[in-house]
């Protein structure tokens, strides 16, 4: 992996975005199994309807994992110092999640050069579903 250099990066720079394929029922079944989150609200239409939802919907932590990928395809994972997020809205079935990020601060801490990066996920209508922040050592 070619690592970005601290000197070459500037506040306002965007990370290469990550565009995921549409979320299908298969996506949610696989994530339920792999993550160990077996909450039926994400995989069982009958359960979701009884709970008052029109359909099953995506696990928030699935989109969180996509945000993890946004970072690890940009820098090696061992450079990630922190990753935090707020869940703002439900990511529905058939959503197309797009992850984006941009550098908001360059600073030094604990003897390292670090970047603070604002990250988010949005659906195909541009509605933000998760907003977060990561700190990266460069």
């Amino acid at each position: 992996m070619q690592q970005p250099s601290y000197a070459a990066l500037a506040v306002g720079d965007a990370l290469p975005p990550l565009a995921m394929p549409v979320i299908s029922r298969t996506t949610l079944a696989l994530y339920a199994g792999a993550s160990g989150d077996h909450n039926p609200i994400h995989i069982d239409l009958d359960f979701a309807r009884k709970a008052g939802m029109a359909d099953v919907f995506a696990h928030g932590m699935l989109s969180a994992a996509y945000l993890g990928r946004l970072l690890t395809r940009w820098v090696p994972q061992q450079n990630i110092r922190s990753l935090g997020m707020r869940f703002i809205g439900i990511t529905h079935l058939y959503s197309t999640v797009r992850c984006t990020g941009r550098i908001v601060e360059k600073f030094e801490a604990e003897g390292e050069q670090r970047l603070r990066v604002e990250i988010s996920t949005a659906n195909q209508y541009g509605e933000t579903k998760i907003a977060g922040e990561a700190v990266i050592a460069i």
Partner: protein
């Protein structure tokens, strides 16, 4: 109302083994294309000792216990009304396939907003590996409507 006597209280600790096949399954589920997460040779070439535990998978391992919500009743959480509001990871060292990770959780805070209409619980979890090395700290904010 959440039981505020739980503030500062430790919740049950547990250990979870990081299984290689499970990491590959997770990689498939999140559309991972970087071979570092699925191929031992690629992981070694990138300087890792085995397949890395990806950034958010620690949350999954934290839930890897017979009943991850057993403590809800101690606090007064209703699983049908609870939402995951925020999640934070602070990383100290990498974790890998083959590791046995220990998860120690505590209730860091309980508070409410809108005159009690929304109740919040903050859970903090310290993760360490089989050598006693501090791997990460997790912080979850749960919201009950």
């Amino acid at each position: 109302m959440f039981n505020r006597a739980m503030i500062g209280q430790a919740l049950s600790a547990h250990e979870a083994v990081v299984e290689r096949g499970r990491l590959r399954f997770f990689a498939k589920a999140i559309g991972e294309t970087d071979p570092v997460y699925t191929d031992e040779a690629a992981a070694h070439a990138a300087g890792h000792t085995s397949l890395p535990v990806p950034p958010t998978f620690l949350f999954c391992l934290e839930m890897e216990q017979p009943d991850p919500f057993a403590w809800f009743s101690q606090v007064g959480i209703d699983i049908a009304r609870i939402l995951h509001g925020e999640q934070q990871f602070t990383y100290h060292a990498m974790a890998y396939a083959g590791d046995t990770l220990r998860f120690e959780s505590r209730v860091a805070d309980i508070y409410d907003k809108k005159g009690g209409a929304l109740e919040f619980l903050v859970k903090e979890t310290r993760v360490s590996n089989q050598h006693g090395r501090h791997i990460a700290d997790l912080r979850s904010v749960l919201v009950q409507r």
